[in-house]
């Protein structure tokens, strides 16, 4: 069976305590081709809609291009907030940096009342937690709920025992339909420059698996990659919201979809048992899209 063929099957066999995930996508695996026709997110009533950017804070033209594309699509897909996956401000984290690398590029979105929820990357001064537009409430790790989704922002740059205890407590206490973690360093990655953070994976992944996390969003690698689910958890890397490491991806059997020839960001919509996603490049192209479906445990073995 080819890897490309396998993309069209349900991954119903990946078990997680909170249910099972299946995935149907319109993307071909390991292809750098992009779809010209935008995939329409369903815009279901009362759904939770958000955008995701990572490694964005360069202040350079490509960051502005991505920001403009986000603004353009906001009129079609009115997302309520943006998740930032770290490296929000490269270089000096001084007032000029905040202006040039955050306030200016996203000014139209900020003026529209779009909230940004940041997580810290290795280039970020942890005092960013005190910068109100990042909505971190003064904390390096925090969580918030929106509709059917519960979001957990972690500081993967400093995963202390206290933080591990906190995430365990918060995840175990959450009964949300969707548990979505976002942090900077990927636990799985096929990018060449860094590769996965194996020590972070060793300490954190058991908690993600045990407490039914459904989706993990990471940056750090300056590419887009959607990985094959691991123990029912769907991992995305979206580290090209400003930076780009062209040609850095070395797709493996673990790569469900990769894109490393342009910058990209994601739009996501959580509606009941489904999470829709669409990844868009700076050139207005749909890089990847699909829907993750939570399946009841009883039905999970079917269709595998």
């Amino acid at each position: 069976m080819s890897i490309a063929r396998r993309q069209f099957l349900c991954y119903a066999g990946f078990a997680g305590p909170a249910g099972f995930l299946s995935i149907a996508t319109r993307a071909r695996a390991q292809s750098s081709q992009v779809a010209a026709v935008p995939f329409k997110l369903p815009l279901k009533p009362n759904s939770t809609r958000f955008a995701v950017i990572g490694d964005s804070g360069t202040g350079d033209t490509p960051q502005f291009q991505i920001a403009q594309e986000m603004e353009r699509l906001h009129s079609e897909f009115p997302f309520e907030f943006v998740l930032m996956l770290g490296d929000n401000i490269y270089g000096n984290n001084d007032p000029a940096g905040f202006k040039q690398k955050f306030e200016d590029p996203y000014q139209p979105l900020l003026k529209s009342g779009i909230k940004f929820y940041a997580t810290l990357g290795n280039h970020d001064d942890p005092n960013q937690r005190l910068y109100k537009p990042f909505n971190m409430d003064g904390k390096r790790f925090y969580n918030f709920k929106k509709g059917d989704a519960h979001f957990f922002a972690l500081d993967s740059n400093y995963m202390s025992p206290e933080q591990l205890s906190w995430i365990q407590k918060e995840l175990s206490g959450s009964s949300a339909k969707w548990k979505i973690c976002f942090f900077h360093h990927p636990l799985y990655s096929d990018a060449r420059f860094h590769g996965p953070d194996v020590d972070l994976r060793k300490q954190l992944e058991p908690l993600l698996n045990q407490y039914g996390v459904n989706v993990v969003l990471n940056g750090h690698e300056h590419v887009y990659e959607r990985l094959q689910p691991h123990n029912g958890v769907q991992y995305f890397i979206l580290g090209s919201g400003g930076q780009l490491r062209r040609g850095d991806l070395r797709p493996s059997r673990d790569t469900a979809k990769g894109f490393d020839t342009d910058r990209a960001f994601a739009l996501m919509e959580v509606a009941g048992d489904e999470l829709y996603f669409q990844v868009i490049s700076a050139r207005h192209e749909t890089v990847d899209s699909g829907v993750l479906t939570k399946m009841k445990a009883a039905a999970a073995g079917q269709g595998n």
């Binding site: 290795n122 590769g195 996965p196 020590d199």
Partner: protein, 183 residues
């Protein structure tokens, strides 16, 4: 009046530093470390209490100003403090032992791999100096953090090459450092 308050504050600072150094002579390395950290926190509180309280703000300028004022006041209050003020020889030996333990055996290969992939940074550091603002903070492997003594939220461990740094996060100030901490 202002001069008198400044003098009183300086006396208090010296008393706190002196007391902690005196105590450190009597206790085990791990206790010594915690005592020195507690002494630093006491001093820090005295300094921070003289500044406006930092709350989340939409102003990046306000954040920068507060960081600079806190760092400057702390550095002034700790003027003359040298490397080894917290990582005393006994504490240093203990930390090197703990780091070696964390990086030993089957865990060690994994932690070393993480360290190599964490955008290692190089450079020289100094007590009472700012961590270079444009230099990324090297990611700390969780296994290593688990092996080191717990810190209060005001402080954190960081690495620059093989040097372990004790950093005041809010002030972005290096409180002390331990060369060749990592095997």
């Amino acid at each position: 009046m202002v001069r008198l308050r400044t003098v009183s504050f300086a006396v208090l600072v010296l008393a706190v530093v002196g007391l902690s150094q005196d105590q450190s002579k009597k206790s085990a390395p791990s206790d010594q470390f915690q005592e020195q950290v507690a002494a630093y926190l006491k001093l820090r509180k005295m300094v921070a209490d003289q500044l406006p309280k930092l709350k989340p703000t939409p102003s990046a300028q306000e954040l920068a100003d507060r960081q600079a004022r806190l760092a400057s006041s702390l550095a002034k209050a700790r003027a003359g403090v040298m490397q080894g003020n917290i990582f005393t020889p006994e504490v240093a030996t203990e930390f090197r032992r703990l780091a070696e333990l964390a990086l030993d055996g089957s865990d060690g290969a994994r932690v070393h791999k993480s360290l190599k992939r964490s955008e290692p940074v190089k450079g020289t550091v100094g007590v009472n100096q700012a961590y270079p603002p444009a230099v990324p903070l090297q990611t700390m492997p969780p296994t290593l953090l688990m092996g080191l003594p717990k810190l209060p939220m005001e402080l954190e461990y960081r690495l620059v090459g093989r040097t372990l740094i004790l950093r005041d996060g809010e002030a972005n100030l290096i409180i002390d450092f331990l060369p060749e901490a990592i095997p």
